[in-house]
């Protein structure tokens, strides 16, 4: 078992004729993911390296039964792309693109209210169920099928955590990058709920970072609702106030959003927080024993 993506995932890539979209569509297919085609308005009816290209997401859904969209379109067109995918009836939308205006996401989130669809991202590495489906830009070979769920606001730091687990022989059920923006499609809590229900997940690694209060809210949720052990790392303990650390969401504003506050909240919820990013694998191993 796993969450979000598996062998039945049928991916349509929005922006497949762009360089990033094409490269990663190919990489996903090479991993074994069922990429059924792509969308580039105006290029419908053509083919790119064996991928059929459609003018609209709806065509891809009708003709190829696509149930998941993977978005690479440039930031100014992301709002349009997400809404098109939802309107076409896919059940999962994963948006890799970074640099999406926050107020666009505010509108998108309002639009999604009450709809039976899940959005992951934007500004995220995507979702990976090792051995079944890679729907994103993460390197496939670092993963190992197994029973640990991973949720993260970061990209490469997630790879680091996965790699530490794999080197210890500990596999992953599903790895979810929720993205580093202030407003994202799915929060830590949304994904924690899925992992709690998943029979294939025994424990969860949560990787947070400075900025906002998503980790504090996750801690509150974990305390009340999670029966599975959680291990966490919070990046940015050494970050100065008021400076954006790469991600649009990673900024300590005033006295809120510090790593210390997040660490305390998580520890109070019974989460084991790693003091060093090099100890994520070992810490997880210790809670399994």
């Amino acid at each position: 078992m796993s969450i979000l993506v598996n062998k039945n995932t049928r991916v349509v890539v929005q922006g497949i004729t762009g360089s990033a979209g094409f490269f990663h569509a190919t990489q996903c297919r090479d991993y074994g993911t069922n990429v059924v085609g792509g969308v580039t308005p105006g290029k419908g009816g053509t083919e790119i390296d064996g991928f059929p290209v459609f003018n609209t997401v709806l065509e891809a859904v009708k003709e190829k039964n696509a149930n998941t969209s993977l978005i690479f379109v440039p930031a100014p067109f992301v709002m349009d792309a997400i809404i098109e995918a939802v309107d076409a009836g896919v059940k999962l939308v994963i948006c890799i693109t970074e640099g999406v205006p926050t107020l666009d996401m505010v509108k998108v989130k309002k639009y999604l209210e009450g709809k039976r669809v899940r959005l992951i991202g934007p500004n995220c590495p995507g979702v990976m169920t090792p051995g079944e489906a890679k729907v994103g830009i993460m390197p496939g070979y670092i993963h190992l099928p197994g029973r640990i769920g991973i949720i993260s606001r970061s990209g490469t730091l997630t790879y680091e955590a996965v790699w530490q687990l794999t080197n210890l022989g500990i596999g992953q059920s599903t790895c979810v990058g929720i993205g580093g923006d202030p407003v994202v499609g799915s929060t830590f809590i949304d994904i924690l709920k899925l992992f709690e229900k998943d029979n294939g997940t025994d424990a969860v690694v949560l990787i947070g970072e400075i900025g906002g209060s998503a980790e504090e809210e996750a801690a509150e949720f974990i305390k009340k609702n999670l029966s599975k052990p959680v291990v966490a790392f919070i990046a940015g303990a050494t970050a100065p106030k008021g400076k954006r650390m790469g991600h649009a969401g990673a900024i300590i504003s005033g006295s809120s959003g510090t790593a210390a506050d997040k660490k305390t909240a998580l520890e109070n919820a019974g989460v084991k927080v790693c003091p060093s990013p090099a100890e994520i694998g070992e810490t997880l191993k210790s809670v399994l024993n």
Binding site: T102, P139, T156, V183, T238, G246
Partner: protein, 388 residues
Amino acid sequence: MNIHEYQAKDLLLRYGVRVPTGKVAFSAEGAEQIAKDLSCEKFMVKAQIHAGGRGKGGGVKLAATPGEVRQIASEMLGMRLITHQTGPEGKIVKKVLVEEASNIEKEMYLGVVIDRTREKIVLMASSEGGVEIEEIARNHPEKILRECIDPSVGLQPFNCRKIAYFLGLNGKTVNKAVSFISGLYKAFTENDGSLAEMNPLIVTREGEVLALDAKLNFDDNALYRHPEIEKLHDPAEENPMELEAKKWGISYVKLNGNIGCLVNGAGLAMATMDIVKYHGAEPANFLDVGGGASAEQVTQAFKMILSDPNVKAIFVNIFGGIMKCDTIATGIITAAKEVGIGVPLVVRLEGTNVELGRKMLGESGLNITTGADMREAASKAVAAAQGR
């Protein structure tokens, strides 16, 4: 992106938001002339830097005559203004805002934020003006109203009335506040604001509602659709290295330690700083070369790190996903040839094409210490910086 108070006031005025009458000056003579043209009883002279707390640092002063405005402006221009937000190095004042001094009847606070938990725009109002909102939130949370705006219908007049009554306004002032708040909301949403603070928002003895101070920040990700806002950017307010980095598509933040960090990805870059600290040293910078950096960008990143005289060792921590390890290796070798790397270099490479990357570095003849994993590399970098 941050803009100056005078720019924020100019913009707000275009949306019908009332602000004191005034103008920006770049010289003492200019400031005096503006005061003469204003023909009012008292004047405010306000240093224009991107930081709060200017009053306490001597950056906001009252003047009775145009001559006094000139005197104050001549003292302020060129001074190094230090506030709790500038850091100990302060900021040089290059322009001053000269405006009509208001007769303050009541001071309040009004802010617009994007609430990350509610995922909506929230207006924040408090009857306590002139103090930091974080302080009010800590000591008197009941004195803050948070009015959440539904994105499908936007701000409605009733939202504004609620705020006005919460602030204790009455009579005609309520309508003036409603028009003020609607204008502010419009300016915020039409220009992709990320934060707006009117602190204080005042009611004058004459019954006007004015923004005595105005701070506006904009979403960097949305600047592509607001070229007129982008023009307001003042490069003098930014660290020149951070600005240079931005041109190359690199995220760089200067810090005070002595271990230069070169990393791909924001999360891993923060974690790398953290692990340096965990091993007992301080990072010299945050540096994210990005997901798909080219060899040129890597070379440029090296040059930037090396231009910081505090750097005693460099820690390269790369987890190649999209980025390939041989690209990093090429960047490192080029940088070494072009500028020379006079400090110990510790490299940890993992991910796509790692074998090729390691081989290239091994055959380059450069003196490179490798770390098998993040922990080993971090402790070697710290030891190198401490001369061990």
